[in-house]
């Protein structure tokens, strides 16, 4: 997964790296007590309950098989793990990286347990033509997406082995370029109605449910791109200004700061953190004390 790092470093403003030491975490007191468990903890001895994900039954008791928070829905008990791979659900927005071009499909890394699949038939062809995919299309596949490309997509369906099938059949999905990918734990991304944001600070944000977060420049007064060659041109010739780079870098560090504090990621928290960070230079945002300071507002939400 070398690709990620490359992109991250691209936007680092002047290459200076701040190495913070691991520090003692603050103990956060929660108002409503969560039922936190570690593997092997007994959740309940009541037999009336049904076991869900992250649990197992031993004798009469239901025990946790992962570390996380116990959730109850009616009679169902499951444990939502703190750190886990992404488990896809239909309708989720994800950011993924093409890792293989195969027979009428792309393999996509979406940080789930198995590689996800993007079928040739579930992408929008350039120009928005709707037709059956022919053999020529199959040969052209690499010109649409090649290995290493980043894409945004939506989960179309979940196979029985829990691998995901994606689709990009909307203009807002597709190849991503000129920006920065940040990876966080999937659990930190809060599920909202919309995961595409154009932030007022001058950057666009895609909060993939799989913990991959894309920060890019604002789409410049977008006319719908209809031509493949046009798109290609745009990709290479579009120059991101220095100011945009700085905004992106700042946003990236804000997202990482929030993730570091295990705070939920959605547009509001990110914007609050961004606003709080204005007083610091972008590179200072990785310092632990600055992180504490700039995330304090988001923590109160």
């Amino acid at each position: 997964r070398d690709f990620k790092r490359m992109e991250v470093e691209d936007v680092d403003v002047d290459g200076e790296i701040c190495v913070g030491l691991p520090r003692k975490r603050q103990v956060v007191v929660l108002e409503h007590s969560l039922h936190v468990v570690t593997p092997g903890d007994v959740i309940t001895t009541d037999t009336g309950f049904m076991r869900g994900h992250g649990t197992y039954v031993e004798g009469e008791t239901i025990k946790a098989s992962v570390a996380g928070v116990v959730e109850r829905v009616n009679k169902l008990i499951c444990v939502r793990p703190v750190r886990t791979r992404y488990t896809g659900e239909i309708g989720d927005v994800v950011v993924g990286r093409i890792i293989e071009v195969g027979q009428r499909r792309w393999k996509v890394d979406t940080f789930s347990r198995l590689d996800s699949v993007l079928m040739l038939s579930s992408i929008n062809l350039p120009g928005g033509i709707l037709r059956r995919r022919s053999a020529e299309d199959e040969l052209m596949m690499r010109s649409y997406f090649k290995e290493g490309d980043l894409i945004s997509a939506e989960v179309q369906s979940v196979f029985s082995d829990v691998s995901l099938s994606l689709h990009t059949r909307s203009l807002k999905y597709g190849k991503l370029s000129q920006g920065c990918l940040v990876t966080v734990a999937p659990a930190l991304v809060k599920r909202r109605k919309t995961h595409f944001h154009n932030l007022p600070c001058g950057a666009s944000l895609i909060l993939g449910n799989n913990g991959y977060i894309w920060i890019g420049p604002l789409a410049a007064e977008e006319q719908p791109i209809t031509d493949a060659s046009n798109e290609e041109m745009m990709e290479t010739e579009m120059v991101t200004s220095h100011r945009d780079h700085e905004v992106i870098a700042r946003l990236r560090n804000c997202v990482l700061a929030l993730a570091d504090q295990k705070l939920p990621l959605y547009d509001t928290t990110i914007l609050y953190t961004y606003d709080a960070s204005i007083g610091h230079s972008a590179r200072d945002l990785v310092k632990p004390e600055v992180i504490e300071e700039i995330t304090s507002h988001a923590r109160q939400l």
Binding site: T55, L76, I90
Partner: protein
Amino acid sequence: MPTDSFLLEGWAAVGDSLVVCSLLVCCRYQAAVDAKKSRESKGAASFGTKGPRQGGHFKQDRNVWLSLIGKLRKDDRLPVVAFTLSRKRCDENASGLTTIDMTTTTQKSEITVFFNKSVARLKGTDKELPQVRKLKELLVRGIGVHHSGILPIMKEVIEMLFQRGLVKLLFATETFAMGVNMPARTVVFDSIRKHDGSALRNLLPGEYIQMAGRAGRRGLDTTGTVILLCKGDVPETSELHQMMLGRPTKLESKFRLTYSMILNLLRVEQLRVEDMMKRSFAELDLQRDAQQAASQRQELEQKIRDFQESVFPMCDDIEKYYQVASELNDLKHSLRLKIMNSANAAKVLSTGRIVVINNKEHKNALAVVLQLSTSRGRLASMSETSKTYSVLVLCEGKPNTSTSVERTTSGKSEAVPSTPAVLTGRTPLFHPEGPSGHMVVDVKPIEISVISCHSLRVNATHIIDDYRKRQQPRFRDDLPGREASIATQELLRLVEANPDGLEAVDPVKELNIRDIDFVEKFRRTQFLEQSLDTFQCVHSPHFIEAFEQTRTKQKMLESLNRLKFLLSDESLQLLPEYRDRVQVLKRLGFVDANTNVQLKGRVACEINNHELLVTELVFENILSHMHPTEIVALLSCFVFQQKHTSEPNLTDTLEKGKRLVIDLASRLAGVQMECGLQISVEEFVGELHFGLVEAVYEWARGMPFAEITNLTDVQEGIIVRCIQRLDEVCRDVRNAARLVGDPVLYEKMDQGSSLIKRDIVFAASLYTQ
């Protein structure tokens, strides 16, 4: 293919006419009725019985069929499809025809060979099922039966034999007409009435044409024949005309909002539920006019922007005044409606009551009620206008001239009146300038603006008769009768005594209208009337012009708002229901407060019918404890649809499970009712039918099908279809179990599914071989 239609009455076909030519049908129809009558009178003579014969007498039925088939055979009009619109009658008719044999020996052997080959794929005792044996015996003689109660594999055998021309007479229900390419030379209607689940009704034109259209095979016949059996009475010509040539049923949208659709749309970002509703056929009209409305809106907005407003002195609060005035006007209108419709008002408005009339011709004129007449004219459909009062109105001495003047001035009767005096009704009463006259007119209740406390003693009939007499040209110049002139004088006296209006009856105290809404409105009216005088603008010399201007502007704003509403999502018909349903989903935890789909919601997406109930069943952990056989038996209540069955004999666990399911269903119905949906508990629970629970339970435990049929009175084909659909439910629940991460339930559903998938129920189709 042209079709001949016949009405068959009794023994003989008495008509032949083209469907297209309804005239012919009529005259043949007459012949049928005559034949019927003559026979009836004969019957009366010989047996002494009268009255219509009861249709459906078994023996008579059989004889009708026997003679009909004999005739059709002779005329070479076979094969025949006999549409019999009830499953029971299909079976009865077929089994009654024991004496008919329509096949040759070679055909017989062909049928037997084919039948045996098809049945060979069934296992063991299934080959000896009573239905299979009976059908074989019928088929060999060229008779078939086709309805949903027949085993699927038998249906396929019959369809195939029919297509090969080996079934000469097929008794079928409407389902047969819906299939493809199953034409016959002749179609017979056993009855043209069918039971559609709620009531017995005549066939709709669409249904009739679909079935009648089966007559005549392309390339084999030149015409097809349609015969309607008239076993009871000969149907009315108008009925036949309606059925054969009537307008087809209007297409209407059957778009239903279901929970599963809402959930599926909520979890994808692309499409909103509102968009989906907008694209429904039900919204077609609205969407078609959308463009027009949009341009209208633009125009109107432009107009409002361009609207020249001149400023009048002392008229700053004119807009507020307009608001109050229009509210008052609306309130008064609704109050008046209420008063006039109340029972006490009718009592008060008896002969002699003095009222104030306000309509196009008479402004604030005093009148006396003469009589109440309930008109049955075209206005009768509107309940509040169906009543009219005959009143004697005070008017100018020469009515002809005065009315014409009034007409021209009263152009804007609907508009909001301007001055406070008009609004509160404190304008002076009409006082004739010259010598006073009178008219007797009929007024609608709504035109009576004030019911006064006064009344007169009048002789209503005398006055009316007298007035009518004088309406005739030759009595025109007669003097009015004594009664009428006295009444007029009396009215005039009252006007002179109270020029500013009479004391009105208090609606709350005296008419005893105590409903809270009314009293509220009444108080509000009084309050508003008082507040009118506090406005500054009414004292302005330019008041009328300023008011006129405000009125024009407000009218435009109102229509703009209406257009905006039409163009927004708010105007969607289904929007209120959608909101209620989302509320239900929130209450039950299927979605969270931001309508993000939760785990429960995702489970419900996997389930195809009764999604709420099945999901709750899974999450309440009701199924996991049971044995797979019990689970499938219980789940059968979601797919079985027949209402009336023999009472199944349930084990304790099943009985308990059934109770739990019913409890859960009533709870869900309760939640939905609280959220405002039009659902009753009985209705919601009534959708579950437990009639086949025992049969499915035994089937899953391995009982042969032949014995299953003894457990219940449900027909074989329906049991099979129910179990087939049950497998889909099992699959849904299995997927749900996988989603929630419960391997035990998953395992059990898998087992249950494989337990019911055996033998005749899941025998492969003959068509796919």
